[in-house]
Amino acid sequence: MTEPAGRAAVAAVWHIESARIVGALARYTGDFALAEDVAQEALAEALVTWPREGVPRHPAGWLLTVGRRRAIDHFRRHAVQDRKYAVLAQELGEGGTAAGGEPADPLRAGEAVLWDPDQIDDDLLALMFVACHPVLSREARIALTLRVVAGLTSDEIAKAFLVPTATVQARITRAKKALAAAGVPFEVPPPEQRAERLGSVLTVVYLIFTEGSSASAGDALIRQDLANEGQRLARILTRLVPDEPEAHGLLALTELTAARFPARVGKDGEPVLLADQDRRRWDHAAIRRGRAALSRAQQSERGVGAYGLQAMIAECHAVAASVEDTDWERIVSLYDALAHLAPSPVVDLNRAVALSMARGPAAALEAVDAVAADGAWATSHLLPSVRGELLLRLGRGEEARGELERAIKLCGNERERAVLRGKLAGLHPSQNPE
């Protein structure tokens, strides 16, 4: 096997298996931070060995076994030889503390553990809850989730968020220390904490998807790989907590949003606004999957939550033949419900945009000015770009120019800046001061 092919095989296996491996190791050792460390050591060892000797027949078992051996080494170094150590050592035939009995074939034992369906789901779920624990900062939750649940390397995470690899590594190291310091156990949280903790998991998955679907920086509008990862995490979550309507709501939202990707970017990578999108380019299979997920969310007796509502808004667009055919009044009502359930400046601004489509720019401008009053948008390009657009439609070119110029200054995405510059250039000549 060539060196690059070997490395590619390691990366593929890791992407598929890391969650399961880290989860199983965390359960063995009762120590999430240690589990993550030894899993990384196993990965490093695979990167050396597999390109040379080929991919093992049971790659996940191989990685798990190496990880367990490294965990035992760690216990020995720190003279921790408790019951957990004894069990590990016995299973791996590392003797010394275990009495009698033939040691099991470690690879087969590893495989057996990995394929135990009852355990896997619990491990995965515990892993998600720990990686998204409220003691961690938002950045740390995202980095840790991408690394241990989605199986991305620090390099891949750094590339996705346009930060140096060292920054990602530091975030992960700090996060593991914070979890250890807070004594966070590796477990699915007890029922009384579950709702709140699940909220944090959903938020992290949503943020990962959103950063992929509308990159906040850089020159690509959509980062497909990151959006895909967010979507895959949402799918995994619906499988793990099938009775949680918001998990289905979030999956529906990712499907219905991703369905528009093919039409959202033009030939040269420029953004194409909703009104100008060729709706035939939308991914109709994704729309179908999204609507199926949404109907599962809506079947819940607990009613639709914030993600379900956003998915319902996305559905309004998905089923409309054109911007004119869109049920904008319904979208305004859905934003009203969302503002009630999960108030945020973004919801207010989106509601104002929907209002401009439903009832015209004057009504919307009033709503936008009310949104602007609370100051939350001071550093974002979104409010001036919406306001500029509304002023344009009201024929107030001079004011529109000021808003668009401010939006260009504040916008971090080169593609979006180009669109704003285009609008500015399109202002009627009589409104261009000589």
Binding site: A11, V13, W115, A234, R239, H284
Partner: protein
């Protein structure tokens, strides 16, 4: 990216399938499906009925010749497929390696599913295809 895993088997392999315990096979395949769903990568999967039900339309001559299924020609038959949404060909290969139906004569071919965007967008038939996909909710 989407990849199709095409399951193939030659006549001998198919014969061996006929003698395997059906319930055990269903369980093995079911577990594999479960793994794919758990990993969040499965988009579609179908299995095909046996060659005894199939019909071949051969275009070697004009008009085409229609015969009953491909008997007595030891060739590989296409028996079913998965469509997976994974990050790379290498990852599709790793999944294929886990197929529970293995042995002499069993193979999986992996092909990338092309997207409509790879076609000339101004061609009228491609435009028609888009409309058709829209109407039928195709993958």
């Amino acid at each position: 990216m989407k990849y199709m895993l095409i399951f193939r088997a030659d006549d001998k392999a198919l014969e061996s399938m006929a003698t395997t315990d059906f319930a055990a096979m269903i369980e093995k395949v079911g577990k594999m499906n479960d793994e794919l769903i758990r990993a969040g990568v499965l988009l579609a999967a179908e299995g095909l009925a046996g060659p005894e039900e199939s019909v071949i339309v051969d275009y070697s001559a004009e008009p085409p010749v229609v015969t009953d299924g491909p008997y007595g020609e030891t060739k590989e038959l296409f028996n079913g497929f998965y469509i997976l949404n994974v990050a790379s060909m290498q990852e599709a290969v790793e999944w294929a390696k886990r197929s529970p139906i293995t042995g002499p004569g069993f193979k999986t071919e992996i092909r990338r599913v092309t997207t409509i965007d790879e076609m000339p967008q101004d061609n009228e038939w491609i435009k028609k295809e888009r409309a058709w996909r829209e109407a039928t909710g195709q993958l």
